[in-house]
Symmetry: C2
Subunit: 395 residues, 2 copies
């Protein structure tokens, strides 16, 4: 018992193997016994690797080995990863994963299996990479009703926006730089269109508000529409543009959840989160505002969170529940466009007098921060004008 | 079983009672059964209070009641609080506390009793108030060797310094304001002289580096020596002055730990932590830099952390170890003055040419940021000059 199998030994999986080797003394001290990596499931040829003797190609060896108590999934996606995770749980093994897509889309089903089998499905690494976030949310803040969660959860887009803000780069140039540095993939869609952030938001909402939020229900806007002019104007008005995953409890048990670029006031810590770093602010009814900051991605930070989850499954030998959430409650979810908020608007064809308080007017266009209103009211006020940009302001 | 006794019902204790009443539904959902507050040990007359029917005056009632599984200590100090906590642990009850003095001074002994009795002694609220910090450190970052911990852990002094930085107030005026607002006590010694921060640092070091650090071994400098001029000059050089509790691993297993005002560069998130808020940065060898931010004191934030600890004792029914640290290892502790660092110095009687790079010279004095050196080297360079201020620069 108490041995570990790793599924996939790419970037993050390799990090998990490295931590288990390099920090072995700390791990043993933490759980009171050695923590041994027994198998690595990997299709590619690993004959030159230091862990070559652990590599196997057949998942059923892991599934059927009673010595394996934890399976660490680093394959990604919802294909074989989902199949293997489900089989591992059904075989009575705990699973730790960094796979946000799988948890966002299949978490409800997989957690139910884990609960039934009295094993753990832990996924600290799926949101915020190495930042301790989900466990603090579910444990340390468990005395609170969570009112709001709002974060920078995608390092690629935060890097691109930081370049646009600090260096005046336009989106295409900043994206090309991010790709050159390895911060963005060749196909950057999942990042720049907000899909990655949206999956993470689903997981946060599931945990904070207790009912399943299907990814397709989350209004998601990426950063392709943000221009260098917007970033510069926001700066002049005292704000930084950030892509935020944002969910807020409204009256009763209702809540709203969406991903969109926001203007964040400079005295908010989130405005100071630069480059590929992530940060998530959580507001509880007792604790008030808290914020968790750190590396949201990368080999070692993500692996750090996965190994901590592995240790956690070993410490919690008693099969008590750790994480779960209920089925979807569609009646709780409110369209964010119906929730009044302040807006940043850039438009031409005249200036709206109601927006005159925080307003910059030059070169034939106006940029303004509006009073709080819903999107329909905003659009009514802007009727007949040529709208360049519309972003929410975080309050 | 699974009932709670509260020792002391003042500010924080009252908050614990309020959360247990107001958030009862969330607490029950979190542990799977109702969480009942059965006794409140309180000497003063509580006949008008809503919890008057729970008030008792004799600790032995709690000690001898098998229904009580958790004792929440909100008395403070190391007098009766220490006596009652020890007796509660010996009687086989878990204890949660916000009492940093008791944990810093007697944690080693009390944790050993808890371990022997297979109960928990939890103290999340003792450092950083409501910020989830100690559990993330000991659990979520358990795959890491912690390299450095550095934080703003005293809200009173951070409020005073913020006033000095943002409003140009001098120390006495800022302290008087803090006292008027209830942020500082009539006798502010424990806060402004760094004693409170030092106790919290001891707890952080105990947890991060694994051996007991006695409070009397920690070089501690408060903020009485910080002037409005220092704050303004630091600002001009691109830094904010912050009182930091700082511990860093050196080569081998050695480490240094001390409390002192530091200059913090403006692009470090710690520089943006204003007013009474707290934040602690933690660097691990796998995760890199993380930061935890929130309300470091106050009735509800502190109570939030204590109630989360109460719930945690109920979830972890299996008596496994959660927190402990080893006895003192004096040979590991290095005098911070012997560790090279950059310094901010303000002096008159001439300018030191070696400090010319980051230097302001006016009104007959010089203010400079030095290259890294130990304190003795610094003092040698300043020989013969009239030194006004010497503070470390955080790197």
């Amino acid at each position: 018992m108490n041995k570990v199998a790793l599924l996939g030994c790419g970037i993050v999986g390799g990090g998990v193997a490295a931590i288990m080797r390099d920090n072995a003394a700390y791990l043993e001290k933490s759980v009171g016994h050695p923590v041994e990596l027994k198998y690595i499931l990997e299709k590619r040829d690993c004959s030159g690797e230091p862990w070559a003797d652990k590599v196997i190609g057949d998942f059923s060896v892991i599934e059927n080995d009673p010595e394996i108590s934890v399976v660490a999934e680093c394959i990604g996606g919802v294909g074989v990863a989902y199949e293997f995770v489900k089989r591992a749980l059904l075989a009575g093994k705990s699973v730790v994963t960094c796979n946000k897509q799988m948890i966002a889309e299949r978490g409800l089903e997989l957690l139910a299996i884990a609960k039934e089998k009295k094993v753990f499905l832990l996924f600290e690494a799926s949101v915020g990479g190495g930042i301790p976030l989900l466990r603090p949310l579910t444990n340390c803040l468990s005395a609170n009703r969570i009112e709001e969660v709002c974060g920078i959860v995608n390092g690629t887009t935060n890097y691109i926006l930081t370049q646009m803000i600090q260096c005046g780069q336009d989106f295409d140039r900043a994206l090309a730089d991010a790709q050159k540095l390895g911060y963005a993939e060749a196909d950057p869609t999942a990042d720049v269109d907000g899909i990655d952030a949206m999956r993470k938001l689903c997981i946060l909402v599931d945990l904070c508000f207790g009912s399943n939020l299907p990814p397709e229900k989350v209004p998601t806007e990426g950063i392709r529409g943000v221009t260098a002019e917007d970033a510069a104007l926001a700066e002049r008005l005292g704000y930084a543009i950030k892509l935020l995953a944002h969910a807020r409890r409204l009256d009763g048990e209702r809540f709203t959840a969406y991903v969109a670029p926001h203007l964040v006031a400079r005295d908010n810590l989130l405005a100071s989160v630069s480059g590929v770093m992530n940060a998530v602010a959580v507001r509880g009814n007792a604790v008030g505002e808290t914020l968790f900051y750190g590396a949201g991605a990368g080999r070692m930070p993500t692996a750090s969170a996965m190994v901590a989850d592995i240790l956690d499954t070993m410490r919690r030998g008693n099969g008590r529940k750790f994480i779960d959430w209920g089925p979807e409650q569609p009646e709780r979810l409110v369209d964010p466009d119906a929730v009044p908020t302040r807006w940043f608007v850039r438009y031409s064809g005249g200036c709206v007098s109601a927006f005159s308080e925080d307003c910059i007017s030059e070169n034939g266009f106006c940029a303004a921060i509006t009073p709080p209103m819903d999107r329909a009211s905003l659009m009514a006020k802007l009727a007949g004008l040529e709208i360049e940009s519309v972003f929410r302001v975080l309050d």
